[in-house]
Symmetry: C2
Subunit: 135 residues, 2 copies
Amino acid sequence: MTASTVLDEAELLERHGVLPSAQRLAIAQYVLRTDEHPSADQVFAKVKRALPMVSRATVYNTLNLFVDKGLLRAHVLAEGKVVFDPNLAPHHHFIDEETGAIHDVPWSALAVSNVDALEGFDVHEYQVVLRGKLK
Amino acid sequence: MTASTVLDEAELLERHGVLPSAQRLAIAQYVLRTDEHPSADQVFAKVKRALPMVSRATVYNTLNLFVDKGLLRAHVLAEGKVVFDPNLAPHHHFIDEETGAIHDVPWSALAVSNVDALEGFDVHEYQVVLRGKLK
DNA sequence: ACGGACCTTAGACTGTGTCTAAAGCGAGAC
DNA sequence: GTCTCGCTTTAGACACAGTCTAAGGTCCGT
């Protein structure tokens, strides 16, 4: 019954079947709260400040583990990079062509019609990817 | 006035400001006719059969040149790979989750509403990316 | 022939991501 | 308290995509 606005990361990991560890908590505390759409190496750089001895393999393994366990989603949007996104709700993406920055676009801001009527495809998920300039 | 159903690749390159060469023609003959959405290394492998001494740098340079000159489009859709697509008309993409194969979806098969009304974004282009199984 | 512009080549280099072998750590059994 | 088992972490090697460089080749006008 103890309602809390602060997430208990350790409990969150356990609830998703991930055994907590110091490294996994440090990674979780950054990547599950950010809206920066970081790549794996950006996560690595960030986490290294809090935990300087962490290895690159651990960060990659942990991010992939989080994706497997449904804590994160991976998107292939920018030039040759996989980015991670803790926003699990379906949403669209806008890519700033000048900076490469990725912005979330709420699902309700756009509507795609006829997805269910596509011939020959059994669509499991979809999103609109937009590119342009910030106004 | 000589209408022709067979494309003259050399003339096509010239019309787009690309000086033809044996290597560029071999690459064009494959990549401008395929619907396989090949990656650069797949193009390299394919072209090597026709022209065994061709170098990887030439294939990469040529593909990027074709994109610059408007003969091809590059898409970042699959796991960490850039794929090339001679279909220049706007269209959507369906990714088979089982095989990773990419299929074109005609622009007219789907409709996205409200793109112009997005707050804060000046959208230059967009597409719908769908994932699922083939029916 | 010569020269210049452009193209191609092999291989080195960079960056991203995966794998491996060994060491570390935590929790339960004794 | 310590042993041991299973899981995690580590450093570094590896694999792969893509770019760059330096050198040589080709074509064409003169």
